[in-house]
Symmetry: C2
Subunit: 164 residues, 2 copies
């Protein structure tokens, strides 16, 4: 391999690492800010759970684990605590009683209905200072990356949020 080919390989690899580093940073800063804005009302993990159920109620634990991109173990604890606090409930599937499905309670539904617009407002506040074209391009390119990862990532956590 020529020096030039080696150098090109290194450049591509450095660019990829830098891209990943930037994505990590943006994720951490946005997540920290959004968590802080919600924290007197709800944890971010529970917010994600209720938001997912508000889009599709009665999911199985397996479906929720995929949708929320959390491990089965973490999800069980999350659902346990949410059930204890009366915002969700597990009920057996009527067709297969071994299969538990998770449903919003009336209280859970009211809570997430209040929080969703507030959360959208916070996300919008964080991003609206970016030039409109950059925001549009960034959304498109992240969609491309998500689609690419859904066929190339190997961790079994497929991108399930592809509808947003």
């Amino acid at each position: 391999m020529t020096a030039r080919a080696l150098s090109a390989r290194t450049d591509t690899s450095d660019e990829a690492v830098s891209l990943w580093f930037r994505l990590l940073t943006c994720h951490a800063v946005m997540l920290g800010t959004l968590r802080q804005k919600l924290e007197d009302k709800i944890t971010l993990a529970r917010f994600d759970l209720l938001a997912s159920l508000s889009r599709s109620d009665g999911q199985t634990l397996a479906a929720l684990s995929r949708a929320l991109l959390v491990t089965a173990g973490n999800l069980t604890g999350l659902v346990d605590r949410a059930e204890r606090d009366g915002v969700v409930e597990r009920r057996p599937d009527p067709k297969d009683r071994r299969l538990a499905r998770v449903w919003l309670t009336k209280e859970g539904r009211a809570l997430i209905k209040d929080l969703l617009p507030m959360h959208a407002k916070h996300v919008n506040e964080l991003l609206r200072g970016l030039p409109a074209q950059d925001r549009k391009d960034l959304r498109r390119l992240l969609g491309g990356l998500r689609d690419h990862l859904s066929t190339h990532a190997t961790n079994g956590t497929k991108a399930q949020r592809g509808t947003a």
Copy 2:
């Protein structure tokens, strides 16, 4: 406010939420894949700690907490376990002995020197299937978002990874 202005507001907010959702998904899938690739050798959290020290050895806990975007509490446990396993050590600052600094041990330095190229290779494998121009644009736009967030995010976790 006119209906049209309201509608434009909603569209911008939906676009922002969708962008954030995509970023969350890409982050989760990439992180899960990279964690899995490292997992027989090191946890991702310890990898981040050693990688940060390999860029700048002898950091204080406060500096590491900012650099790694983790809370002080989580960092303390992480450094404790890494010290117990002999890859880092705390030593008091010679000029202010109340101030502990964290250093790579010889073993820690050898380990991260082995792992960094492997990690870069994994990141590169995940991203190289994207069109080169998309990768370039995405890196640039994420840099813009990171810079925007470093002045507009309010959680006190400033983007410290801005040099990559």
